[in-house]
Each structure stands twice: as structure tokens, then as C-alpha cells.
Symmetry: C2
Subunit: 136 residues, 2 copies
């Protein structure tokens, strides 16, 4: 965290410095206008890339867009999808049953149906396939 603040502070300072330099360069006509603009453009282009990269540092903030159409096309129902999410969280059938206030039998039924619909042999494979489909 401290490192991030430091990096951003330095970045802002560098940008301000660049601004001042570019103004001096232009008013004193030491440099060609094109070069100054190009430098500014390139620097801010990379700053944009850098900022965006930083903003994605935490995996929880990754823009994982869920493909709801895919879920529909696989004919996965609401309940089944809930179970799929719990599986992906690493819960056992017993734990899923408890969190959803259902019996373990019901969860087993849902899991079995999910495996068929996702064409998976195991729950771990189901998670892998679901992620590749961008549905979780």
C-alpha cells in the first residue's frame, strides 16, 4: 500500500514537471512543436496503460464479464447455477446444502445435472469448464 502511494505521488510529480518543461520548450522555441506533442502523447499513453494495469492488480477487481447467454444455452437453471458457484468456492455438498438450506440429496442431484450439462466428469473439471465459458 505505501509503495503504491509513493509510486503515484512520483508519477503525478513527473507529469507536472513534464507539463512545465513542455511549456518552456514551446515558448522558448528550443524544440519543434511536433516533438514536444509526441513526447507528451507517448508519456500519457504509457501513463494510461500503467494506471489501468495498477487498477487491475487485485484479482477481485478483474472485469470478469459473465456470459449469461452461455448459461442459458447450456440450460443451467437458477438453482443449479447457485450450486455451481458454491462448488467453485470449494464447498462440499454438505456445506452447500447447509448454506442453501437444502438436503445433501438435492445438492447431489443438482451437481449431477451440472456435470452432464457442462460435460464434466468431476466437480473440479466443471469449475474449470465453467471458467473457460466465462459463466463464473
Amino acid at each position: 500500500m505505501k509503495k503504491t502511494v509513493l509510486v503515484f505521488s512520483l508519477l503525478i510529480l513527473a507529469i507536472l514537471l513534464l507539463f512545465q518543461l513542455s511549456k518552456y520548450a514551446l515558448v522558448s522555441n528550443n524544440l519543434q512543436t511536433e516533438i514536444v506533442i509526441a513526447v507528451i502523447a507517448i508519456v500519457f499513453f504509457f501513463v494510461g496503460i500503467f494506471i489501468h494495469k495498477k487498477s487491475l492488480q487485485k484479482p477481485g477487481l478483474l472485469p470478469i464479464e459473465i456470459d449469461y447467454k452461455k448459461i442459458e444455452s447450456l440450460e443451467i437453471s437458477k438453482r443449479e447455477y447457485e450450486v455451481l458457484q458454491k462448488i467453485a468456492e470449494g464447498l462440499s455438498n454438505r456445506e452447500i446444502a447447509d448454506t442453501l438450506f437444502l438436503s445433501e440429496s438435492t445438492i447431489k442431484t443438482h451437481v449431477s445435472n451440472l456435470l452432464v450439462k457442462l460435460n464434466a466428469k468431476r466437480r473440479t473439471e466443471a469449475v474449470q469448464i465453467a471458467k473457460s465459458f466465462q459463466i463464473i
Copy 2:
């Protein structure tokens, strides 16, 4: 794919146009230098963000940086780590044994050790924890 090419083409055209406009604006002194530079800076800043975002569109290209120090601190050995990767791919113990040319017993030993080291109760939970630790 076609859409991406189109968008990038338009983007490049827009940038070139901006360049020309800025040059005209500066030489004819219609606008203040600061404003032109600021506009250039802002535009390229967002272009940088846009480009970086686009480059991350494919999930396979996500820059998931693996925390090797974390792996070490958890005392996960090379073999155990290989097994962990296979687990995350959704393979069964039997399949992992076959791909690594080992017996299923060995895989079970590795998995058991992994569960202890990752403080997980199940292989699915182990995958979840490993991802939260950024080690897979």
C-alpha cells in the same frame, strides 16, 4: 475480430487528426498552449487505458502474476506444485498419475500434503485458496 480491427483503425485515424489539429492550433495561436497540451495528454491517457483494456480482453492473456515467494513460504515443493496445477485443471488423481507417470498413491500423498500446507479440507477448496494466494 473484424470489429477490433475497425475500432483500432478509427482510433489511429482520430489520433492523427488530433495531431494535425493541435499543430494548427498552436501555429495559428488560436488556443492557449496549456489547453492544447492538456487535451493531448488527456486523450492519450485514455487511449492508453483503452489499449490496455483491449489487450486484456482474452482471459488467457490475463497477467496473473504468480507469487513464487508465497509458494516458498508455504513450503510447497516442485512436485507438489505440479500436482496443484493439475488439480486446478480439474484432473482426477488417476489422470494426474498418468500424465506425470506416477502411481495414484504418490498423487494422494502429494494432495494430502498440499491440503495441509494450504489449510484446505478438499481439493476444490485448495484450488480456491491457491488462487487467492496468486500461486496458480
